[in-house]
Amino acid sequence: MTQNFSIKVRDLSKRFGKTCALNSISANIDSGQITALLGPNGSGKTTFLRIISGMLDGYTGSISISGYSSSDYPSLMKRIAGYVPDVPALYDSLTPMEMFRFIGSIRGIEEREFRERVGNLCSSLGIGPYLEKFIGELSFGTRQKISIISALIHDPGILIMDESLNGLDPKSIDVVKEILHGMVKDGRTVILATHSLELAEELCGNMLVLREGRLAGQARIYERHGNYDETAMLREKYIGMTTG
């Protein structure tokens, strides 16, 4: 039976001191879809993603996953979600393998399952040559791949990606796209924050647009075959939402 990993957000607000980062956002994020999170710089995308991934507290409003409220089940999101930040923040003085093992241990993943999953991910993203090097010595793109693998180790039901395809080589981007398609085919939920409308148009079924901490709009992206005119339509829709 396919499980439901839909997310409902109601009146979500967050302040950092005097600055209001998110202002009363309400949105539905469907299961089995890739949802694009769009918006200009400083619109609150990262704050929104960090809150729903369970990394950031001190907000008002409610979040529920498959009908389970995050205030009643505070660790639920941490258990079922994987989060990839925009800039890979990792343990610089561990090797990727040591880091994967640590995450695997904390998540209680079985040995056989761990080897199979990490092996496949490392192989498809080309991480093999770097498994025994310190993360601090690796390039940005390689660190981003490690960050992506770290978020996928436990086979998450919800994947949250914050502009995480930046810095990846074209082959790896294709691999990640394949992984995302595989996830939504299984009925899982993917949220992808991006500035690339082409990527949103190509991958996503829905889009949420934030502007100055508010939800500027939520819409479906109907066509997804990537020709120029459709992207241009999406661009117009986006500009309309963010400048109106």
């Binding site: 980062a21 389970y68 079985e110 093999g128 025994e132």
Partner: protein, 548 residues
């Protein structure tokens, strides 16, 4: 020169800005606040500087008064420990300064700007805001010495020695900080890094305390102070008595040695500052390990639960970073000089046990404060994994306390046993002292760590200890736990002295109070909760109660 000085000031300000942004107070500051922020930095830097200056002045005066009787004949005996203290302080602040500069990329602009000797510019930046504080340790003692009839010419000589100690402290810190993880297999790298750091420190100490080992009947030599070029200074009677006309070859030799020592110190500074700067620019890691084209490296066991995997991870992080790897040896640095003094001067009498109780508590409290900073700063970019992987903060606290108390016990217990053995205290009460010390460590660590963790609760990356706040801000976080631990220790000693003449009673009362207080703190932070499983593997929702 003026421009270089302005740039040096700007570098430190830039670093303060980065650390401010990574704290709770710095969240959400807007560009329009820049003026206010700069003003705030300036005042925070100044208040911090004056706080340390005041503390050092008081320390200098205390040492002076304490040694009042010796002051006329053995002025240098007061100054030598102060120089060693300046060296240690300078080395520590340098490692902290350079590590932060590397992690925060706060001095990257020096690689682009056409600046000559950028390493020395970094030194200047550090010296203005941190290094120059060491002078305050020497100034009051020197002036009091003069006011009591000493030669006024001692003052500039001692100031020169203080500056030399600062310079050597920076060089030492710079060398420790620029020690990179060596190439080779992953196994054993940590130990090599650690032993390399210790070897550098040791070699430096030899250089510092004794550039010359020429025996001289005029120069007092002892186990504590060594036989150093610095010790020659009072005997040279510089510059009055020393005269080429007297053809005093010994004095001429000593003067030349001292001059050589000063020149060498500044040459070492130039070399180590360049090395430290290069390390910052190249990011600090060296290619290591064999490349593998396959994924056969997916080996090793996946642990169970979170305590042991966290201990393994924490140990690796701590031991592979320069500053945390120094901080975990705090108990050793504190106990070793005491052991040396016990070795040469046999303490006796009824106060040795109460003294050991208070001394052990002090070691635990200071170590816990240092460990809490080391364990949090070592998290660096991985801080977000503490939030993602652990369901709540209590579990983060539990894992950190487990890791820190294990490492503390490994470092502390052998040193404590050596002190107890040398002090001649009955072995029956040794377990009481050790258990209580570890309890005091846990109490202070939990209190300090939770407060520091709260300071960085929303940041994505911790860039070294400065990310946790200025020293005065960090001190504010560390004071409550430390004060509580010391109060219960002093209370135990006081109660035991009221109840009985048997000093060993103090240990047992201390044990009972400290273990009870630790249990209370464990309850407060949920350390004793029976549910200690990991966050759980699967993404799949159960029909009922999906929470773990």
């Amino acid at each position: 020169m003026k421009e270089r000085f302005a740039l040096a000031l700007e570098l430190f300000m830039e670093q303060r800005y980065y650390s401010y942004r990574s704290q709770k107070e710095g969240e959400g500051i807007s560009e329009s606040d820049v003026k206010a922020i700069r003003k705030k930095f300036r005042s925070s830097l100044l208040s911090n500087y004056f706080m340390y200056a005041f503390f050092f002045l008081v320390l200098s005066l205390i040492l002076f008064i304490d040694n009042y009787a010796k002051i006329r004949t053995e002025f240098y005996l007061i100054l030598i420990p102060l120089y060693l203290y300046i060296l240690a302080f300078s080395a520590y602040t340098t490692v902290s300064f350079l590590e932060y500069a590397r992690k925060a990329n706060s001095v990257r602009m020096l690689g682009i700007l056409p600046v000559r000797r950028p390493g020395l510019l970094l030194f200047l930046s550090w010296f203005v805001y941190s290094g120059s504080l060491g002078i305050f340790l020497v100034v009051p003692a020197s002036f009091f010495f003069v006011s009591m009839g000493g030669s006024v010419l001692e003052v500039p000589v001692q100031l020169m020695n203080a500056v030399t100690s600062i310079v050597l402290g920076y060089s030492l810190g710079s060398l420790i900080s620029s020690t990179r993880l060596p190439s080779g297999s992953v196994r054993g790298r940590a130990m090599r890094n650690l032993s390399r750091n210790m070897a550098i420190a040791f070699m430096f100490l030899i250089f510092y305390t004794g550039i010359s080992f020429l025996p001289s009947a005029d120069i007092p030599s002892s186990l504590f102070y060594g036989d150093s070029a610095l010790l020659y200074v009072p005997f040279i009677n510089f510059p009055y008595s020393f005269s080429f006309n007297t053809y005093n070859l010994l004095q001429l030799w000593q003067f030349l040695q001292y001059s050589l020592y000063i020149v060498l110190s500044f040459l070492v500074l130039d070399w180590s500052a360049r090395r430290g700067f290069r390390r910052i620019m190249d990011g600090g890691f060296r290619n290591i390990g064999q490349s593998r084209e396959d994924t056969s490296a997916v080996q090793g066991k996946v642990g169970r639960g979170y305590l042991v995997p966290s201990l393994i991870k924490d140990s690796k992080l701590i031991i592979r970073e320069s500053l945390p790897s120094l901080l975990i040896f705090t108990p050793m640095f504190l106990i070793f000089p005491y052991d040396v003094s016990l070795f040469s001067i046999k303490f006796s009498g009824e106060f040795i046990i109460p003294f050991m109780v208070v001394f052990s508590a002090m070691v635990s409290v200071i170590s816990a404060a240092c460990y809490s900073m080391a364990f949090l700063s070592a998290e660096s970019g991985g801080i977000q994994y503490l939030r993602i992987l652990f369901p709540d903060q209590n579990r983060v606290m539990r894992s950190k306390m487990f890791s820190s108390s294990m490492i503390f016990s490994i470092v502390y217990i052998p040193m404590a046993l050596s002190s107890l053995l040398l002090s001649g205290i009955s072995p029956i009460i040794w377990p009481g002292i050790i258990v209580s010390s570890v309890s005091i460590f846990c109490i202070t660590f939990l209190s300090s760590f939770s407060k520091l963790l709260n300071r960085v609760r929303n940041v994505l990356r911790i860039r070294g200890i400065p990310s946790l706040g200025t020293p005065s801000v960090i001190a504010l976080d560390l004071i409550p736990g430390s004060a509580f631990s010391l109060i219960i220790t002093i209370m135990s000693v006081y109660i035991s002295l009221l109840l009985s003449n048997d000093a060993s009673l103090a240990v047992w009362i201390w044990s009972i109070i400290s273990v009870s207080a630790m249990s209370a703190i464990f309850l407060k932070y949920g350390i004793l909760k029976s549910k200690i499983e990991a966050i759980g593997p699967g993404p799949h929702l159960k029909e009922e109660s999906p929470d773990i």
